[in-house]
Symmetry: C2
Subunit: 436 residues, 2 copies
């Protein structure tokens, strides 16, 4: 019989314990920060009705990137490509019982049919952070502060990244007032902005021209995206500018230095209503968005008559690991057991083995024993190969005195220890270890 | 426009923060136990090639329960219904680099198209625990001990459940020797055993008769499954019995009392080669398998020429939560922030607010502040409604003296506290809280 392939499905990943340990440590750091901001974790299904994404996630995602299937009851389903529609659905379903503003986070795996390449996979893990129920720029301030704290917790310095912010409502008004872009063209103009830095300028111009923009309009679009905030406010007028959370934030002396206004930030999802932002990796060989988000004040209204504003972001594992790797900030894997317990001779000492194992494990020490006891020399060699720092040996001679042998594998020292002192002795060896 | 439905897809679940907190606490307890046994966490993809399950997972699962799809490259994929084939694939792929025995665990979501009912959903979460590389009954002993420790960590008493064990190889030999069941019928006999307790005896007899078993053979099948281990050993002979890890374990005085031999235990997956076991909920209204597993010594060989024995189990969240609920063992949700910080008057104190927030969060306290500061009375009412135990109020009068007001919401007491003492005072209020 021919053998089955051992590779995972194209664009998905196996996480061996070494890699998983790194991923877990990164996200644990992020969870801890997010929780100190009062965000609580929720979860939702991987499978969602197709309609959930057809409504507002954007044409490209739905027609080209969704993994879809039809179940045995003829229901059209998708593997979630992102978490925001799910959380909006959940908030709408439970709106009566929730005390707004609510702060929620999750850690979903999301799926997109992408051509696998650096930074792009078909299944990735992200942390999703959302606040619902506030239209105040105070929500933006909290989210931006949180992002800086998360980056700090990962070890990133301020120079490592940029938090770039724009406001779609503001930009839309500017485009409508000055180059007189009509509503039908607006979606396309934003999708051109979103790719502006990734393609040649002629490509962007050509797409705009194909959408019916005149040469003069195209010149003006380029002019606007080169403007600073002050000039854009002038185009849209103070009346409109005052309603922009981004303008408020950028006028706030406490926050303005931590973000940079950038009219090129558009983000792909159609549901964003005003604020959009992304964290940008500034290292030359990367120069790409690490993650992003925005404000979606009308998304919950797809499900209910109530309008519940929302703002949030999703931070994926792939670009994050690339970012940390290129700065030497990846955590070390931590997957080696603390101690292996071996029995020196025969089976008569097995009851002692069981008691020792139980004590060490109850104390929280990661403790293994070979399923099959063999000669001491052979076992020590195996332990050394696995990098376990401590061995406990149970042997007849010592056991008659009520003691066992504890061996420090790195210093190749060993000593006779009573059962009551065992946990403390092992802990002190491990502690010394981690100092060197 | 008509509104989108807020319900999750049939058979899948939204986990609100309350429910998620319970799920996380349960699995955190299990992770901790599993890690003290030296198991390390890995992860694999949700999407796998269909072939992975067609090989050995069993007919019913593949033809009736798989969620399948065809990707844009015409590849046949399935949403994993279980984790064992994935981990066997990963072990085969990396066998050269692994120091056996290896102890791995994971926490996947798995998918089955089931008719939703109590204990059955279409997406569930499980903890999967596997050891690879040992044929010794010491592996069984470790796995059984681990299961008892996991149940103990959840608060279960020994009387709450049974660890029922059988050996397919042993039973197959018995069926072949005594009622002379032929190999072609064997798979069906085990599938009848697997449902024996769930259906009327006439149904089981009818299925066996349809498979071509004579009346006498059926009588003998019933006889065998009523036998104790001693009688079964007699039928198969000591030569064969000696090779059964289950027989070894049941002859081991240290372990034999912690498990019960039961010829009815068969388990659904075809890849099990000898040992099979399940943890059975003994409460009258439940009386069902909580979870189970077995030994699959030939599964890795589907992928490579090397034969790497394996043993493990998966423990799903749905039956586990039912079990804990029926015994009052569910953990309490823990999702309320520790402290809310509010500003008494105007915006002039915002720099102080930021400093206070930063201090509290750095100390690990779950700290919120309203995105929009409002009147103190209104804010206190909101905090009380959310159940947050502590409020810090920043007001002009106190701040001029370098202090803030800390309010204990449950005792409605408040005191003036310096910034340096703030964290300690809040911690002591929360600690007193959790005692009452």
């Amino acid at each position: 019989m021919s053998k089955l392939r051992t590779q995972p499905y194209r664009g998905t990943r196996d996480f061996l314990p070494e890699e998983m340990s790194v991923r877990l440590q990164i996200f644990d750091k992020l969870y801890r920060v997010v929780e100190t901001f009062g965000y609580v974790r929720y979860d939702g299904p991987v499978l969602e009705p197709m309609e959930l994404y057809e409504a507002k996630s954007g044409q490209e995602l739905v027609s080209e990137q969704l993994f879809s299937l039809i179940d045995r009851g003829e229901r059209r389903l998708a593997l979630r490509p992102e978490m925001t529609p799910t959380v909006a659905r959940m908030v709408a379903a439970n709106r009566g019982a929730l005390a707004f503003p609510i702060r929620w986070y999750s850690h979903p795996n999301c799926f997109r049919y992408e051509r696998p390449q650096r930074g792009r996979v078909r299944e990735h893990w992200q942390i999703n952070v959302d606040m619902f129920g506030s239209e105040s720029p105070g929500a933006e301030a909290e989210i931006f502060t949180l992002i800086h704290r998360m980056m700090e917790a990962l070890g990133a310095a301020k120079e490592d990244y940029l938090l770039r912010v724009s406001d779609r409502m503001l930009m839309e008004t500017a485009f409508r007032n000055y180059p007189e872009i009509i509503d039908e063209q607006m979606k396309l103009v934003f999708s051109v902005l979103d790719r502006w830095e990734k393609v040649e300028i002629d490509v962007s111009r050509k797409v705009l021209a194909e959408a019916g923009l005149s040469d003069l309009q195209i010149v003006r679009v380029e002019e606007i995206i080169g403007l600073g905030l002050g000039d854009i406010v002038e185009i849209v007028g103070e009346e409109i500018a005052k309603t922009s959370p981004v303008v408020s934030i950028l006028r706030d002396e406490l926050i303005q230095d931590s973000i940079s206004f950038d009219p090129l930030i558009a983000r792909g999802f159609e549901y964003y209503t005003s604020t959009v932002f992304e964290v940008f990796d500034v290292i030359a060989e990367n120069r790409r968005a690490l993650f992003g988000g925005g404000r979606y004040d009308n998304l919950v209204a797809l499900f209910s008559d109530e309008r519940i504003p929302g703002i949030g972001f999703g931070m994926g594992d792939v670009t994050l690991v690339n970012f940390l790797e290129s700065r030497g900030l990846l955590p070390q894997p931590n997957i080696t057991a603390d101690v292996e317990v071996i029995v020196g001779e025969g089976g008569a000492l097995r009851p002692v083995l069981w008691e020792v194992l139980n004590r060490l494990r109850k104390a929280g020490l990661r403790t293994t024993t070979p399923p099959e006891q063999q000669g001491v020399g052979k076992q020590l060699k195996r332990v050394a190969k696995r990098g376990i720092p401590v061995v406990v040996m149970i042997q007849g001679n010592e056991w008659e005195r009520g003691t066992v042998i504890v061996r420090d594998m790195n210093r190749t020292q060993q000593s006779e220890v009573t059962l009551d002192a065992l946990v403390a002795v092992i802990r002190s060896i491990i502690a010394t270890e981690s100092l060197t």
